[in-house]
């Protein structure tokens, strides 16, 4: 198992965001994390990534306990992460953004820029490398977010709702991109609402509801699991139309 999350619980100001969540991700797998809004999916990422420290439980990566490590330390271990709302370095160009990420691995600025150029091509951002990141449309900022994560040459990449708001074409391009990432040997863990993506990409899916893990199975088994369906529909709102 490349990554293992064990009995992680955390609460904020009296609200229990996660309770006793455990799962494991083997190397090379594409794992999906789904669940209604407020289920704790992003919080889970924040815990793995080091942004928050859990009240209880542990996170293991490649056999090493990384619970409570700071985000930059987690990143250096080989775990990359994208944010739901893209967080580019607005006053730097696309190329500079990605090169700065690459600088976490290489020491020479020239080399970092060369690698950045390759990553940008991979993510199809290469027509305007010197464009200021803050001026980019949302889609491009998402690609940039991904490019920065990939520049780290991580072993695991945590994707937080990268399909959100994409149209059919864009979604399909994104799916292809994720497949390319996997074929490069990167383990992917993705939080998603867009079921089409989950169904086509994920080999396994875990379902969170109100901070608890309620199911863990293949995508098709999950889609037919009554517990999961109730979690979405029973809440009255949410993403019934996505199922």
């Amino acid at each position: 198992m490349l990554m293992q999350v064990e009995e992680v619980s955390v609460s904020f100001g009296g609200v229990q965001a996660l309770k006793g969540v455990s799962f494991a991700a083997p190397e090379g797998e594409i794992l999906g994390i789904i669940g209604p809004n407020g289920a704790g999916k992003t919080t889970l990422f924040n815990i793995i990534n080091g942004v928050y420290e859990p009240d209880e439980g542990d996170v293991f990566f490649a056999g090493e306990r990384i619970t409570g490590k700071k985000p930059y330390q987690v990143s250096k271990k080989g775990i990359a992460r994208t944010f739901q709302v893209a967080q580019p370095f607005r006053d730097m160009s696309i190329l500079e953004n990605v090169a700065t990420a690459a600088l976490s691995r290489v020491d020479h600025v020239d080399e970092a820029f060369r690698e950045a150029f390759d990553v940008i091509s991979f993510c199809e951002l290469s027509d305007k490398p010197h464009e200021r990141a803050g001026n980019l449309p949302t889609i491009s900022q998402r690609r940039l977010e991904l490019a920065k994560a990939l520049a780290l040459k991580p072993k695991v990449i945590l994707l937080d709702e990268i399909m959100a708001g994409l149209n059919i074409n864009e979604c399909s391009q994104a799916i292809d991109l994720v497949r390319k990432i996997k074929s490069d040997g990167v383990t992917v863990i993705m939080v998603e609402h867009v079921m089409q993506a989950v169904m086509s990409l994920c080999e396994r899916v875990i379902v969170l509801n109100q901070g608890r893990l309620i199911a863990q199975d293949t995508p098709s088994a999950i889609a037919n699991d009554p517990v999961v369906v109730e979690a979405y529909l029973g809440k009255g709102g949410g993403n019934a139309e996505n199922l």
Binding site: N49, Y72, A80, F89, S93, L95, L103, F113
Partner: protein
């Protein structure tokens, strides 16, 4: 024909050298009034440039930066008075102390962000000022300290003529410009800029933001301290209000901001524009209208902040580019290679 970037025939290379040569001629032709003006311009440019490392590139609004200036001024003076130590060595001691204080200040202040950070630096500056005001036996209190007079002495960093001061100030400025230049192109520079623009995002891509901020603040403190030592040797006097004055401390940052923060030449431009403005307005109007030069200053600041936040260098860049194109060896614009990253002229 396009000249290679590093070759001497390229205006980007020979222009600064030419300007430097002209500056070096100045002491032979200008009278002491103008030499003094230039010395002050160099010093303020050096101060603003030092601030720019952590404030401009790093986006950390340190409004209390004068702390390092004051330490750099007081320590050599105290050591000279008590132990007869040459200010050159005192300067090293001052640098050491400033560096240590930067570590402490960083530890306290960097836990805060944005406005909170700015305020905490101001408060710590005030604390320093009050402490120096109190400790009369050590620092002379409100009365201040005078540098022991040694006449014309290289050993004691004192000269009767303005020329040596001019040259030393120029050297300090060149050092600061060089530091800015190196930072802007280095790994640390990129990582620092990332931290300044979005600390969380920077952490997530593996940048140890605390360590980067600490390192660059340290460098900034050292350079600022150098300027402080120069000041006290040039002015022969220091007191807590000069050393740790809030308006002065803010002014250092102002110059960099008006000129263009986060660029190599912005702070220099800021000093070259603002210092003469201050001199001229206080000379012509200051007698009749007290404080008017600072009103002008404030209005320039407000205008820049509202209309041209990237600084006056944004106005001058196109002009410089044009000049470089016209000059022999400039040709058309340099091809934008993907290594081109400095946004100043």
């Amino acid at each position: 024909m396009l000249m290679g970037k590093g070759s001497i025939a390229n205006p980007r290379v020979y222009l600064p050298i030419l300007i430097l040569a002209l500056l070096l001629l100045l002491p032979f032709v200008a009278d002491p009034y103008y030499l003094n003006l230039f010395i002050l311009i160099f010093l303020y440019a050096a101060l603003a440039g030092s601030w720019n490392l952590i404030g401009g590139y790093g986006g950390q609004m340190s409004l209390g930066h004068a702390v390092y200036f004051g330490i750099g001024a007081y320590i050599p003076t105290i050591l000279a008075i008590r132990f007869g130590l040459t200010p050159w060595l005192g300067m090293v001691a001052g640098i050491g102390c400033s560096w240590l204080i930067s570590i402490i200040m960083g530890a306290i202040c960097f836990r805060l962000r944005g406005h909170y950070f700015a305020i905490s630096t101001i408060i710590l500056l005030e604390v320093m000022r009050l402490v120096f005001l109190r400790e009369v036996r050590l620092t002379g209190g409100g009365v201040g300290l005078s540098v022991p007079y040694k006449g014309n002495s290289l050993l004691f960093f004192q000269f009767l003529d303005k020329t040596p001061y001019f040259l030393i100030a120029l050297v300090i400025l060149i050092l600061v410009i060089h530091a800015n230049y190196r930072l802007s192109r280095s790994k640390t520079g990129y990582q620092l800029r990332a931290v300044g623009q979005n600390q969380e995002a920077a952490e997530v891509i593996g940048i140890d933001s605390a360590s980067i901020k600490r390192k660059v603040l340290g460098l900034s403190a050292i350079l600022t301290s150098l300027c402080g030592t120069f000041w006290v040797q040039y002015m022969y006097f220091i007191d807590p209000d000069i050393a740790f004055g809030l308006s002065f401390s803010t002014e250092i940052a102002l110059i960099a901001i008006i000129g263009g923060m986060g660029t190599v030449w912005g702070p220099v431009l800021g000093a070259f524009i603002l210092r003469p403005v201050v001199e001229i307005t206080s000379a012509t109007l200051g007698g009749t209208y007290a404080g008017i030069h600072l009103i002008v200053y404030a209005l320039i600041l407000l205008a820049v902040v509202i209309f041209k936040p990237e600084g006056l260098i944004g106005l001058f860049n196109p002009v410089f580019s044009r000049i470089i194109q016209i000059l022999p060896g400039g040709g058309s614009a340099d091809p934008a290679t993907y290594l081109e990253s400095d946004r100043s002229s």
